[in-house]
Symmetry: C3
């Protein structure tokens, strides 16, 4: 019971009584003011829709973008708030921090994202207002996803205030990077392999690198899955089933993630099919690798819980393209292998050699597959042909219209690759900058020996008392 006793008489050095409420109130009030000044409904969510329908000869309400995107939006929403949060609950004593702060960060992030992305993408120049609809909500969720991925790298080592700061900067950087990649370079990235996963992962890894804690091993006894915890097998099992449950929700809803903002009609349809296939193929190779690299050929839950998702990340950019079903299977095939190897060999190397402490192993689940996704996207874009896409199809899929009417697939491939580089630069550069900001000693982050411990920021006193009583019970 030592573990339990020493969390009870552990020193508290992280009072956020004033800073956290202050930040929450001030930021929420600023959101209200900024929304009051800038944000309005767009023509599809405004009561003027009835007039708009008339003048645009839209035959039915069902053609409102809401009905094209709402089902995918709800699935994405589940992935952001439950999926990402619960995937981080594997630590022995940090489940509240994982889910609770994920919740707080996301709730703030989506508001700031609506503004930042709105200024870049949905600003109505006639009246200087941001006009929002369902697609903006999805993009806000996507933007926050980038920050939550980054959270995975610093999980348990930062204070909620630091997280909010990290999100403020993260969302801002994301919006700029996204604007450059999608609008300036005119690259396509429906599932966000580059914009979301590559950026988010390297943003988090760079922050973690700057915030390197040499003495983190002092709280190593808390950094580890429930499986090395001094609890009954049964509890470990239950916890692992919960984790697998959330992995499955991410796995099942990933087709919605990659198709949520794809083109209406065949675009969304194809994105869902490609993701469905890539993910299925990843599962088999992950299981194979996991069994192959364990002495006795047994399966390791950690691989099943993480690497099975890599295929969805890697097919993100190309999901909309005519990747073709077997193409998706191939992408998934290799991502399952690479991601699992990452957990076995690369993560330890990352920590010992590169001094990057990646709590959740986001490098294996988001960074590497994200980069692969960008490359796959560039290649499949460069390889696009009129025979496969059809003249009209090619124009629709890559939006070769207006200023980009002259662009051809090979050139598009180049711009896709450029987009990947932009995502990497923003991720690494932004991460180092924000990391330095977070190094300031004003954020109430935990000492090395208190990392990975809910006790610092959550009211869990009674538990200790009771657990100690239990100790007495079981001794008596």
């Amino acid at each position: 019971m030592d573990g339990i006793r020493n969390i009870c008489d552990r020193p508290k050095n992280t009072n956020i009584k004033w800073s956290l409420p202050a930040v929450c109130f001030v930021w929420q009030l600023s959101m209200i003011i900024l929304f009051g000044v800038f944000v309005r409904y767009n023509e599809e969510s405004d009561t003027h829709w009835v007039d708009y329908r008339k003048e645009k000869n839209i035959t039915s309400d069902i053609e409102n973008d809401y009905y094209f995107r709402y089902p995918s939006f709800q699935d994405v929403h589940v992935m952001i708030f439950v999926g990402f949060g619960f995937l981080m609950t594997f630590l022995k004593r940090y489940s509240f921090g994982a889910v609770g702060f994920n919740f707080l960060v996301a709730a703030f992030g989506i508001q700031w994202a609506l503004l930042m992305q709105g200024w870049f993408h949905s600003l109505d120049y006639t009246d200087g207002k941001i006009k929002i609809g369902i697609e903006n909500l999805i993009n806000a969720d996507f933007c926050v996803a980038g920050c939550l991925i980054a959270y995975g790298a610093v999980l348990g080592k930062v204070s909620p205030v630091q997280l909010l700061v990290m999100t403020l900067f993260g969302v801002t950087l994301f919006a700029v990077e996204e604007y450059i990649i999608l609008n300036v370079l005119h690259a396509k990235d429906a599932g966000g392999s580059m914009v979301i996963h590559t950026f988010g992962a390297y943003y988090g890894l760079s922050i973690s690198w700057v915030l390197y804690r040499p003495n983190l091993d002092r709280s190593k006894h808390l950094n580890g899955s429930v499986y090395q915890s001094d609890m009954f097998a049964m509890i470990g099992n239950l916890h692992y089933i919960l984790l697998l449950d959330c992995t499955l929700f991410l796995w099942m809803f990933w087709p919605s993630f990659n198709s949520a903002i794809a083109d209406h009609g065949d675009g969304q349809h194809r994105a869902a099919i490609n993701t469905y296939l890539a993910l299925a193929s990843t599962v088999l190779t992950t299981v194979a690798m996991s069994s192959l690299f364990e002495k006795t050929g047994k399966l390791d839950m950690v691989h099943i819980q993480n690497s099975t998702l890599a295929g969805g990340v890697a097919v993100g950019t190309a999901a909309e393209f005519m990747l073709s079903p077997y193409g998706s299977l191939i992408v998934g095939f290799f991502c399952g292998i690479i991601s699992t190897l990452g957990y076995i060999y690369f993560s330890p190397f990352l920590e010992e050699k590169l001094k990057i402490q990646d709590t959740c192993g986001i490098h294996n689940l988001h960074a590497m597959p994200g980069v692969i996704g960008g490359i796959v996207g560039a290649i499949s874009a460069a390889a696009a042909t009129n025979t496969v896409y059809g003249d009209l199809g090619l124009e629709n899929t890559f939006d070769f219209t207006g200023p980009f009417a002259k662009r051809v697939p090979t050139i598009q491939g180049g711009y896709q690759a450029a987009g990947l580089c932009v995502a990497l630069c923003f991720g690494i550069g932004g991460g180092i900058f924000v990391g330095l900001v977070l190094k300031l000693p004003i954020w109430g982050d935990p000492a090395d020996e208190n990392c990975f411990d809910d006790e610092i920021y959550w009211e869990v006193r009674q538990t200790c008392i009771k657990a100690t009583q239990l100790k007495i019970h079981s001794d008596s």
Copy 2:
């Protein structure tokens, strides 16, 4: 292990062997007969839809109401059966009762609701039949939601038979109240702040007031969250994560709840946006208040698990209106504060002074936010202008047609307020009446010392035996 031992040799005084099966069989048979006499498919779910399409010149099957509402319906369904049920599983030994009886009550309630609401809203006078479609299913779920909210106040203190009686009356009262508010007063209440939350909450609180148990403290050792339970911290954590999981499902799907029966097109679209924003804003103020009112600035899970939902309740009535994005943020802002304060200060006052034992604190999550929602609805309706809504938009949003063609926004505001009063009267009046019915000594409800205990109505004997064995193990 005392806690475990004494639930094993606790007296059983609550045999429902005959009453429960009898009630279930009789009521289900009556449902079959009444459905046989009254309920048929409506023109959109009947095979005659193909003819109907032709004569109404509907160009595509996709314009069937099913495709407008089914995705929201499924989300609402999840909220009713999982969300509401699991939000009540925080008691140490009453999780079966919470989820299991929630399931039973809802399954019966939706059938009775289809009939009651059908007679008032979907009766086809040509043949005297109730014609049902997807919207009726959603409304039935909504109706049941009112009764499940009420269940939250009496959780652990009533027998399943009492619950079924409570639901029978609750659904009946709901249907009448809903008819008066929506049809007679012609008030709008898409998200049901008044019709569902205000009514349901005061219905439950009044019942709980009538059924006041002075000696409830005898089972107080069972009334409390798993956190004061004599179990390992780890189990408490797992349990709390499960609770937070269900909170998140309610939080994520609330936009579907408020938009499910809103007007096609911009109505549903706007309702989803407003709810999304209100809920985001609530999270930040809830976190701020929770941290502010704890000695050391730590966060209390109980607040995060409940108050973060208040914004969704409070924006229910006005969700369809042109509340504007910042309006939604403001509503959410204040609800997070008020609801959290409710848990800190008002709940104790309610129990000690007003003798209302509110097991789940529905007063803070449904009653207060519901009333706020009604007021917000009245104000925003009264403030509606043609410039903001557009002539056509104003007419569509408030259905100023037929007998109500002459009505203007200011008048509408008055009727909205009147609707709120009706909901309060039906909730309190109906609750007191049903409470008196439930006081009859024929329902097999538990004695004061047996409240909050699954052992009374569920087969959990083995557990005790085994747990005692375990005690022996750990002693040996």
Copy 3:
């Protein structure tokens, strides 16, 4: 702690280090090759959709089949991967195997199903390619559902390799059986009472019969719900809540299951309503029976967790038909009774007399309700009249077109009954054959005393060590 100790020093006789990875890699590679040769996008998921729309005068992208079926598809996906998997996690030490292998089997099965069903249903004879869209994804999930039902009968007694073999054959048999029933006999089976549930259940039961293990009682201490486990009541509760949660997800999403591939418009609409009602009615009779057959009238979670779903299975075939609301209630009414009685009386008989070891009791949840569903379908088809359906409606519902233009309802009823027989024959015949294949001593299946134990195939060593340490702790 004996239980925990002896799983640590239990003999390992089931090395799958080479067989499992080999099978996974080889099969996944074959999938890639076969997909490369055969599978392409169909006209609704291909970039040529824009041209297709033009030539077919489709007014809007919203009429792409994706928008008719995607929401139901996601719900079905959740049922297959979470619902079916978690419903099997009731064993003391086999939760990893239940969910993990369910995941593996499903991920492989859907790929093989896309090919097998594609050859039979979606082959484009102009270019010999299989053209897939959202409906194929749903059908692949359905096909896998059959195999997962079968898994329920042999849960804990087979190796992952055996499971994959079982799935390979199962999917193949399913595709042939489905082709005969739906295309040759032209029977209708929207919810798959016959095609999925009857076939899957008897396929699994026959395999289990062939693989009968006389000495299974040696691992009986592991075969049993967490409720007889030597763990705290609290953990048992948590585990049971998790189980009930997944039951509820199956229960809530069953309307999507039965309506997913029903006809556009009224077909899907009606299927959802019928399933919603049948399931509601099943809950009440299940509760009634459960209470009636317990000595003290208490409720048994096992019944609530399984029998409440029987109504959804039994209404599968007729869900599309004009079964009428009260008809659905009646079906659900009887299925609740029959299924609960099955768990109380029939399961023991099945094991002792017929030597069929049915781990999950699929006979009560899928076999019996499936057969009932087939019969209900046959009767309601035979009873169909032009007055009820309308001439056009009758033709649409039963596809009395082309070669079947002359068919009348009574005849259709006969063919429905024939379809049920085909499902039974394929299930039993195929099961016996595959069972004999799986009897070969090359599959690394566990010895009788090691059944129902994750330890054989999963890396759970630490737990044992730690749990033993804990033992020491609590002794000291």
